[in-house]
């Protein structure tokens, strides 16, 4: 098991390095001058937030080391990141590390609540559907799950806002309050964002859990368990659910990516000052250092959760860690 974990960690680190390389290359190779990108505008004397003259441009070009070769620049950039130096935002003028430390906890907090609701809800609905397969409840829930997977998260957010805020007046339309400042207000503000994001996770997971359960129900060991005369409850819990959960664990890793991606939209719709909102505003302000840092952070979180998933797999299924 230790060797397996070490191998997974090494692969995780390699993938993380590849992600940094990818992000670096994308920022450098896509149209747009990297210096302009860093300075927050598109062309010399252009329409960005700062204006510089051609002489200043030449000076800064050298200053930022952009006249060096790409690999040298990459190593230099990577070194800075490892020292926690993510650069300074050109628009906000704040250290990006500090900005992230301020914004990320909100995104993580809402994301975590959504994740728990999605995981528990999806598994529950999936199991119910599989056990009562073919019943009207199964048909209804499966159809709802199929529809749930197609709902754009931002649209659902707007629809909820229209119904619950504008029409019924039950919840505030948008905003963010720290839970320790005003807990009631805090809860009323996060209900809609969490709900809007959880629907997709529940639907996707429910579909997967259901099909995995149905797969397992046909397995030989389940037939044997019935033949042995075990109680239904024991068969369902110990044989079916436990085995059906193996592919579901992988999907949980994917759900984290989906929630992080969804946060970009949901924070925009509901005006929550989190990481997703930070990144979208940064794109419009041409503040690419922030976008770059945010993409790297999300990538790192997902690689880390995939690592956990891999380790969980190895623990659940001994065949995998020997492969």
């Amino acid at each position: 098991m230790t060797a397996y974990i070490i191998r997974r960690v090494i692969i995780g680190i390699i993938v993380l390095l590849l992600v940094t390389m990818l992000v670096f290359l994308l920022v450098r190779l896509l149209p747009g001058d990297p210096l302009m990108v860093y300075m927050g505008q598109f062309s010399v004397g252009g329409s960005g937030t700062t204006r510089i003259t051609p002489e200043e441009y030449q000076f800064l070009y050298h200053q930022y080391g952009l006249d060096r070769s790409l690999p040298v620049q990459y190593i230099d950039w990577l070194g800075k990141i490892f020292h926690g130096d993510l650069g300074k935002s050109v628009t906000v003028g704040q250290d990006i590390g500090e900005l992230i430390a301020e914004r990320m906890p909100r995104t993580a907090y809402i994301g975590l609540i959504t994740f728990v609701i999605g995981a528990v809800g999806g598994t529950f609905v999936g199991i119910i559907c599989a056990l009562r397969r073919g019943s009207w409840m199964d048909n209804t829930l499966t159809t709802l799950a199929n529809i749930g997977m197609t709902i754009p998260v931002f649209w659902l957010g707007i629809l909820l806002m229209y119904l619950l805020s504008y029409k019924l007046g039950w919840l505030p339309t948008h905003g963010w309050t720290h839970p320790l400042d005003n807990f009631g207000k805090h809860i009323s503000q996060i209900i809609m964002p969490v709900l809007a994001m959880a629907v997709g996770s529940i639907a996707g997971l429910a579909r997967l859990v259901r099909s995995c359960m149905l797969e397992v129900m046909r397995a030989d060991y389940v037939r044997t368990a019935w033949a042995k005369g075990l109680q239904e409850r024991v068969i369902v819990v110990r044989h079916q659910i436990k085995n059906a959960m193996i592919p579901v664990v992988t999907a949980l890793g994917g759900a984290i990516g989906m929630i992080l991606g969804g946060s970009v939209f949901i924070e925009t719709v509901f005006g929550i000052p989190g990481m997703g909102r930070l990144m979208t505003t940064a794109i419009f302000d041409y503040d690419y250092q922030i976008v770059q840092a945010g993409v790297l952070l999300f990538g790192a979180i997902i690689i880390f959760s995939n690592l956990i998933v891999d380790i969980a797999w190895g623990w659940l299924d001994p065949r995998i860690r020997l492969a």
Partner: protein, 304 residues
């Protein structure tokens, strides 16, 4: 999904297999499974209607989607404007109808582009194995590590919107999925004796890949492509919603949801109607994908 599709119980004499049951043609079997389930049929009808709408948009749309009418802004539904008008008096229904074209063009182009690149990489990885496999797969892992929308956001944000950029960004984001799928399928097809026979006959690597592995992995790949379209259309809607996708005044469903957001009280349909269009399209393609999958190979359920 579709669990009533399991093989019907065989008559007792079939077990002895003295009389082999007559083989129906593959197409008839496909059609029986595909059209035998209501959801798949509904999905298929939705897709056909959407494709026809896109082709005949100029004939169906009651108004020009770009013409503004400042005397009739933010109107609710009426007999002249079935879904009302937007903030500068454009007919919402006409914009949704024309938006079909944009969504389908972007959906098909991005998925086909990513499928070609992804499948080629997947074939190469599966066929050569070893370090080639390791390098390609680790790069795909890295691409997969960024949530689709984040990678697409980075590309579209840097390159600055527009239909071409959106297709590139979404296509790029869809490569790893296509590559992994092709790779997995190719690895399993490779186990077959006919591939070994080809090799024994002295066929070149590329010839084996293109004439034997690819055609045999094709049906499940169709499923991946169909399912991919729904994902790409959702991605396009998302980008346009954020304002870095298809640029106004070109009608895009995601952009329309965003525009309408500010006028929810005057005419909620401005936001709600284009969202329903997105859902119908994605639902249709997902169901067709599910249907093809169950018709070609029900074992792939949960894998694809």
């Amino acid at each position: 999904m579709a669990d009533n599709l399991e093989p019907t119980p065989q008559p007792a004499d079939a077990i002895g297999a003295a009389v082999a049951p007559p083989r129906r043609s593959e197409w008839r079997r496909f059609a029986r499974v595909f059209f035998g389930r209501k959801l798949y049929l509904i999905g298929f009808i939705i897709v056909v209607i959407i494709i026809l709408t896109a082709i005949f948009a100029p004939l169906i749309a009651p108004y020009d989607p770009l013409v503004t009418d400042l005397y009739a802004t933010k109107q609710g539904p009426s007999s002249e404007h079935w879904l009302g008008t937007d903030q500068i008096g454009r007919d919402v229904l006409s914009r949704i109808i024309y938006g079909t074209q944009i969504s389908l063009i972007i959906g098909f182009s991005a998925v086909f582009a990513s499928a070609i690149v992804g499948m080629l990489l997947g074939l190469v990885a599966a066929h050569f194995g070893g370090w080639v496999f390791a390098v390609i797969m680790r790069i795909m892992d890295a691409l997969m590590a960024l949530p689709g929308i984040i990678l697409v956001l980075l590309i579209a944000g840097l390159a600055g919107g527009g239909i071409g950029v959106v297709i590139f960004a979404l296509g790029f984001g869809a490569i790893p999925g296509q590559c992994r799928m092709m790779c997995g399928l190719a690895l399993s097809v490779k186990q077959n004796d006919y591939v070994l026979a080809g090799r024994a006959m002295g066929m070149s690597n590329w010839r084996i890949m293109l004439t034997q592995i690819f055609p045999n992995a094709f049906p499940p790949l169709m499923v991946g492509i169909t399912m991919g379209i729904g994902g790409v259309v959702l991605g396009e809607a998302g980008l346009s919603f954020l304002g870095i996708g298809v640029m106004p005044p070109t009608p895009s469903w995601g952009g329309m949801v965003n525009d309408g957001q500010r006028y929810l009280l005057q005419n909620p349909l401005l936001s709600i109607a284009p969202g329903i269009a997105i859902m119908l399209l994605v639902f249709g393609f997902n169901m067709v994908g599910d249907g093809i999958r169950d018709a070609v190979d029900p074992k792939l359920r949960g894998v694809l």
